[in-house]
């Protein structure tokens, strides 16, 4: 081996010099939400699918109706919300990881929870916006009536639901190997859940399957939004079962995300002929 003494340093810094304080995590989180919102809104395709598609489907499927039930409006609203919080969020997170963007952020002094929370909060906000636009279309074209109580309750359900779906998608990204697998994986999970839960229209299911669907995050979300919009006398605006299931999904998914989430791209290990250990 060729070896010489390391040359003297050209210059040296005081390693223990005093440094300014690290930025406040709360202000960093605010900055991350703005940054992620800017990115998400810049992606016009994602916005068109999440916000535009449910409204287009609602209007195209019900052109001859002037009145629609709360369940129909809630279904289309939940469809837009879940497309954003599940598919758009999940696929874009995998894409960012595979592009090395997550790894890049991990190397900065930004707390890791700040980055992830920023993404999940932004997705939740855009998901709720998507549902709100659909509900607004219901108010404008299909006779949906909104009271202050209905707005508040629907908002609680939508925020909880969007958060639960976004957290679940974040957890699932940990087991998706690459960008090519991301789209099919998320769609494969998404459509059975959405269809079985009656989001896109009621379906006839065996009792046991109806029971299963009531514990998945789509049916309780649709049910909670429907109850909020229907405001039928004697029924709660937010059914406790639906709220409990969504809260359980939100917390469980968050815990799973903490365990499963990966910052590093999936890369094949470079192979070199193995040598005997010295």
């Amino acid at each position: 081996m060729i070896e010489t003494a390391p040359p003297p340093a050209q210059a040296s810094r005081e390693p223990a010099r005093s440094r300014p304080r690290l930025p406040n995590p709360v202000s960093l989180l605010g900055g991350q939400v703005r940054y992620q919102a800017r990115l998400l809104l810049a992606g016009t395709n994602a916005l068109a699918i999440g916000v535009g598609l449910p409204v287009i489907l609602l209007v195209a499927s019900n052109a001859r109706h002037s009145q629609l039930g709360a369940a129909d409006i809630a279904g289309y609203a939940v469809f837009g919300l879940t497309v954003t919080a599940w598919n758009t969020h999940g696929v874009s997170l995998v894409a960012a990881r595979e592009a090395g963007i997550l790894k890049r952020w991990r190397a900065t002094p930004l707390p890791r929870w700040c980055y992830l929370s920023g993404r999940i909060i932004t997705t939740t906000l855009i998901g709720v916006l998507s549902a709100a636009v659909t509900i607004l279309a219901g108010v404008l074209f299909y006779g949906t009536r909104l009271t202050a109580g209905a707005i508040v309750c629907a908002l609680v359900a939508l925020v909880l639901g969007a958060f639960a779906w976004a957290a679940a998608a974040t957890a699932v990204t940990g087991v998706v190997r690459g960008v090519e697998a991301a789209g099919p994986t998320f769609i494969l999970i998404y459509f059975p859940v959405i269809v079985l839960s009656g989001v896109l229209g009621s379906v006839q299911l065996p009792h046991w399957l109806t029971t299963v669907a009531s514990y998945l995050p789509a049916e309780p979300l649709t049910g909670a939004v429907t109850s909020s919009l229907r405001h039928a006398p004697g029924t709660p605006l937010l059914p406790a079962h639906d709220v409990a299931v969504l809260a359980a999904w939100a917390l469980g998914s968050l815990a799973a995300a903490v365990v499963l989430f990966r910052w590093e791209p999936s890369r094949p290990v470079q192979r070199r002929a193995a040598r005997a250990t010295r």
């Binding site: 810094r13 940054y35 090395g100 900065t108």
Partner: protein
């Protein structure tokens, strides 16, 4: 004070030993270039120094801390450029730098960073429409936005055109002159020659040379001679002792050998006998590339150095 200290650093992936017992130090303010062929273990070593990869055994201290346990304050002092470009493409260059800068306690002003990487004219351009070379310089800009004490650069100029490489080199030179420690992996020998205070050559996960660029040249143990042949010299024909050194197009002598004396003496005798001038004759130490190839064995394998 050393910015980096590693002792017996080893990384295994199953049966594969990617990094094998590396021990080295990098003094603060030094620019260390890590050279080596593909798969030599350069990036694995760098990823261990950056804290992305845990060593199988051995110890690492970067700025006095274990990179795997380095908290926010430690990460605020470390900058890096990954091997491939990793940028959100929907923002402008200035927006992206501003977003990253907010994470640091003492970020450089965005305008200053843009000047350093020579991207001031592209400040309002979206990252997605930049050329590959410009994106690489955005990577470098993000690496230095936090005023790091140490900067890890993993093949930062791979894929850049010569002009873009020169821009990147100048940016790195600016940093080292202000005292930043830099650890650089590269395939470009001229890059190491231009930038590095010190060169470590890794092959098969082990250090095979740890020296300065001039000493690496000298330690390669070969000198070079080149002599362009005139038409008159070609017509006269080379003596048998010089014929093995005729290059592929038959128009010049190229000699790389540990002892030039016999070849040089033979050349002078032959030239005097034919009354040939020796215009264009060059004798000197090897380039850093030749030295690198000599110590990694590639020079011998390609047959450039007759024994």
């Amino acid at each position: 004070m050393s910015a980096v200290v590693t002792e017996n650093l080893t990384k295994r992936y199953g049966d594969l030993i990617a990094v094998d017992n590396l021990s080295f130090e990098v003094p603060a303010g030094q620019l260390l270039a890590v050279l080596g062929p593909n798969g030599a273990g350069k990036t694995t070593t760098l990823e261990m120094l950056e804290g992305f990869t845990a060593p199988t055994s051995g110890t690492i201290r970067v700025l006095g801390a274990d990179p795997r346990r380095g908290g926010r304050a430690w990460r605020a002092r470390v900058g890096l450029v990954l091997q491939s470009t990793s940028l959100d493409k929907g923002l402008t260059v200035a927006e992206l730098l501003s977003v990253f800068g907010r994470a640091y306690p003492a970020p450089r002003p965005v305008a200053d960073v843009l000047d350093i990487v020579d991207l001031a004219d592209e400040a309002q351009t979206k990252v997605g429409v930049l050329s590959g070379g410009q994106r690489r310089r955005v990577d470098l800009a993000i690496g230095i936005i936090g005023s790091p004490d140490i900067l890890f650069l993993d093949e930062p100029t791979t894929g850049l055109d010569p002009e873009a490489r020169r821009h990147a080199w100048l940016a790195v030179k600016n940093l080292t002159s202000s005292g930043t420690t830099v650890v650089l992996t590269t395939h470009y020998i001229d890059e190491a020659d231009y930038l590095a205070d010190r060169v470590v050559v890794i092959s098969a996960g082990q250090i095979i040379a740890d020296t300065t660029p001039p000493e690496l040249r000298a330690a390669a143990g070969v000198s070079t001679l080149s002599y362009p042949l005139t038409d008159e010299a070609i017509a006269a024909g080379l003596p048998p002792a010089l014929s093995p050194y005729l290059d592929a197009d038959g128009r010049s002598l190229v000699v790389r050998t540990a002892d030039l004396s016999p070849v040089l003496a033979e050349l002078v005798r032959w030239a005097e006998a034919l009354h040939l001038g020796l215009a264009g004759l060059e004798v000197g130490p090897p380039s850093l590339e030749e030295a690198y190839l000599a110590i990694t064995g590639d020079l011998t394998r390609t047959g450039d150095a007759p024994s």
